[in-house]
Symmetry: C2
Subunit: 269 residues, 2 copies
Amino acid sequence: MELTEFDRATELQDAGAGRYVGAVHDGWDIGGNANGGYVLALAAQAMRRAAGRPDPITVTAHYLNPAPAGPAEVVTEVVKQGRRFATVTGSLRQGPRELVRVLGTFGDLAGSDDAVLADGGPPDLPPFEECPRRSNPAFPIALMHRLDVRLHPDDSAFGDDGPSGRALVRGWFGFADGRANDTLGLLLCADAFPPTVFNLGGVAGWVPTVELTVHVRAVPAPGPLRCRFGTRFIQGGFLEEDGEVWDTAGRLVALSRQLALLPRSAPAG
Amino acid sequence: MELTEFDRATELQDAGAGRYVGAVHDGWDIGGNANGGYVLALAAQAMRRAAGRPDPITVTAHYLNPAPAGPAEVVTEVVKQGRRFATVTGSLRQGPRELVRVLGTFGDLAGSDDAVLADGGPPDLPPFEECPRRSNPAFPIALMHRLDVRLHPDDSAFGDDGPSGRALVRGWFGFADGRANDTLGLLLCADAFPPTVFNLGGVAGWVPTVELTVHVRAVPAPGPLRCRFGTRFIQGGFLEEDGEVWDTAGRLVALSRQLALLPRSAPAG
């Protein structure tokens, strides 16, 4: 069976003693710096193997250094192996340089119960086919060749006609090669959309993530994911970005939150 | 100068090599198990000293074992010492038993800029003096003798007249001995209110936290804090609890989110 692009890009060899060897693959970057969701997924791939449990339940990444393509390893430590969960740390490194430190708890979400409370539902989006695929010839983003991210037309004009004025980005997420979504892919999804603050105007370019936490709440059903990312508070040079990810069955599959830095030049608001 | 109760309860001796020695103090517990916000603050006390920076900017705790009172140490590792932030891990232990593992990034929030975007404000609460102090003679909670937590009357009746039907808890937070709020105390505040799901009915007793993340967004102004905790999704036996903490100046000082387990016996919803 041929591996999908994402499976190849997160392939790791078990080198023993909790070390998993592979690479930060080319083509998952924005301007040469691998996407934060991709490097989180790469670390979590090692961590779930160390845990012996398939699903990231809650994972938190702190970003330390930009991640160029090249050989890399993930050093894991099983903090606690419990009856139902395992808690594991992961350190993604290139030589002596640490790129990201991750702390996560892993388990098995297969067959988990349906919602007993859902205050809110998936974002209202035009059908997948009617949303234009994300691309911008003036600012090519390598990552967007691997993914099939389609933005809500109301939230997608920041590069062209102007920002919407709301710190909100909604859209569909899938893989360009048709790979099925799964709980590892949700970690990539959580950081695959343009920064919400692009829609406030005055902010473009890199909005560095300090920390990203993803709660995986269910195994996604087949089909593209409906996503909503919003920012409520920009203060002291920091902003949070809250994400909700829903599957085609109308089920919440992930909640995410990141703390990011507002570019200092940006007069947003 | 006499130390306040919270300062005494988070006092640690630097034992060298990143180790800080102290104790899980008595009286910060619920039924003999120290509160999750308190043990996070205890770990963060060591981590901020290891970081050489006063304020937790974003900290994530994974809870591993219940925390009885007794001698304890925090083993820290500085993952990265940067120009503006330091990223540190902390492991709170009692002998060979690890209670909580924490990953955090620390910095200095003094003099940080005001909000440039605030979509939402503090919860509407009756004045501090008009909200009854939290206590329940039938179920005494040691922690509530250390704190001065006052619930919104609409959200506080779960123990008596019945739950509100909304997974929402709002109220004021202060220390019983009048200690000023600060960025370390915000970590305690983030887990000091009764579980939101008590207000759905059918749930009482312990709602175990798997993971708690707190973003500290500003240094609080003097006076009690206005807090709002809400849950939107209960699914697969998990629930998230999102918190907002505001100071008397009307400024957001913390956002929190925890992933918790719904007690299996609970027919909530």
